[in-house]
């Protein structure tokens, strides 16, 4: 294994990635391409629907000699997470991908990775978790690992999957951050959606990530050295580490904005950092949502604008840390707010993003807030559904009675 920081100069570019190109690839393909372009030292993953294509593609890259890495074929996701965690502790760059059952099977190991501040990048292709056997899209899996201490990002389309994965390495390994980053995208809707994706040349990605090499080196677990990680943190040691972890999590918000800006300078594309606001500036009402539903929502919002309804959209890109400052600024002064969730929050009888948006009430002010739960288990979030939501939010903004939580369809 070649450790990133020890590479003699830049490794030669594999011919398939030597030039910038535009290809029609799936969301899973985009995730695999992005990982390959970032030259991970170690890839360890276990196949699971709808993620399998990601690691199949990476295995092919590896077999074809395109990806020079240690490809560890593990017997399950728990091992996968432990392998990539250890690989980053040894100073390497590591990547894994999972979904649903796989994600919850690595639950304990995810705490390790975050607690060790191991900068792993992981793809999570959103799928409903165990209990009701749904081989279907849904964000409940990512919600269920909310408090593991990972940074969580959400993507809207295949291009964003590729770009966000590259940014995820830049973010995770940043000296000020040193946290694992999970890149989420909707299973089925994005994992198998093929669309045109601009793929940068590997040399451009090398340049973009070059800055990571000029940072102070991370400590490394190497054979023969008497260095340990995660062995003990009793009492105040634990408190100290938790406080540092929390502080790093807060720094992610501004760092992501910087990284997004740097990405635009390098590749000409940007995503607004923590959130993207769409037609919110003069909006009276706002719909907050994330992932593949955003594209549909954008279209409906354009149509509603044509009807004279002043509605805007906030696309949530960052789930952990919660982008509360940017969200508060975007939502402050609006007359009513709707939040569309593709998962549920047990115990609060609403959607999780809704619950967290509602927690911003002291900053936003008391206005009608509506929770919409839609798109569970591959139920389509249709234009008609979103039009109905906007009608409900509009009615609430005019002072008419409204239902706080609405399950669709």
């Amino acid at each position: 294994m070649t450790v990133a920081s020890e590479r003699p100069g830049v490794a030669p570019a594999p011919s398939v990635a030597a030039e910038k190109q535009t290809k029609v690839i799936t969301g899973n393909g985009a995730a695999a391409w992005a990982a390959m372009l970032c030259r991970p030292d170690v890839v360890a993953a276990y196949p699971i629907t709808p993620q399998s294509e990601v690691i199949e593609q990476l295995a092919k890259f590896h077999a074809d000699g395109v990806l020079d890495c240690e490809y560890v074929t593990v017997e399950g996701e728990n091992s996968a997470q432990n392998v990539v965690c250890a690989a980053t502790m040894a100073g390497g760059r590591a990547y894994t991908a999972t979904s649903s059952y796989g994600l919850v099977y690595m639950y304990d190991a995810m705490f390790n990775t975050a607690g060790y501040r191991a900068p792993v990048v992981m793809i999570n292709v959103n799928r409903e978790p165990p209990g009701i056997h749904a081989v279907c899209s849904g964000q409940q899996d990512m919600i269920s690992v909310r408090d593991t201490g990972w940074v969580q990002l959400i993507c809207e389309n295949c291009q964003e999957i590729l770009d966000t994965t590259i940014m995820a390495f830049r973010l995770a390994e940043d000296y000020d951050i040193q946290l694992p980053v999970m890149v989420n995208y909707d299973g089925y809707y994005l994992s198998f959606l093929a669309e045109s994706v601009e793929i940068p040349a590997i040399s451009e990605v090398d340049d973009y990530l070059e800055v990571l090499k000029s940072q102070p080196p991370r400590p490394q677990l190497l054979p023969g050295s008497n260095l340990g990680c995660g062995s003990h943190g009793i009492g105040m040691g634990y408190v100290e580490l938790r406080k540092k972890h929390m502080a790093a999590m807060e720094r992610v918000k501004t760092k992501l904005e910087e990284i997004d800006g740097g990405f635009e300078a390098a590749f000409g594309r940007s995503y607004g950092g923590q959130i993207e606001e769409y037609r919110t500036e003069d909006a009276d009402i706002v719909l907050v949502t994330s992932g593949s539903a955003v594209g549909t929502a954008r279209e409906v919002i354009d149509a509603k604008r044509d009807e004279g309804i002043k509605v805007g959209l906030v696309k949530l890109r960052l789930y952990r840390p919660w982008p509360r400052e940017r969200l508060s600024a975007a939502l402050k002064g609006k007359k009513a707010i709707g939040v569309l969730d593709r998962s549920i929050c047990f115990g609060w009888d609403c959607g999780p993003f809704y619950m967290e948006t509602r927690a911003l009430t002291p900053e936003i002010g008391i206005v009608p807030m509506l929770s919409f739960i839609d798109g569970l288990a591959n139920m389509d979030i249709t234009k008609e559904h979103i039009a109905g939501m906007i009608d409900d939010i509009q009615a609430a903004s005019e002072g008419r009675p409204y239902q706080q939580v609405t399950w669709l369809p």
Partner: protein, 140 residues
Amino acid sequence: MVERDSQAPRAAASTNEAPKGHAAMGGGQAPAGHAPDSRAAQTEGIFQTEACWSISSGDLLCLHTGDWRTERPIFVKEKCNACGFCYIYCPIQCIVDDEDGIHYAVDMDYCKGCGVCAKECPKDAIVMTAEGDYADDCRI
């Protein structure tokens, strides 16, 4: 029992500033030897990095992981034939050479009192004894 002089680590942890550098990575200020000092001395400055990195010779061995033991192994030298099974089986490797250079002894700082050594001893030369019997000469 334990003095909680926690001002220093608390002050260090209360900043949201970015990490300063890895130059002083663990170990530097860790207490030397095994003196059972206050808890502050045991934890202060252990984690001078962002993560829980520590130098095993400096930091980790200061933590007396055996101090919650409820039973301790007592070696009966008369029965012992120095076969070394206890040394091999000890899961935390705290069996050490005895001062006589023939038999074995236990490093009580790390022995958790699991009793594996006593179970495996073919000569029944190790007896697990309630820790309470030694309360008066407890080192901590």
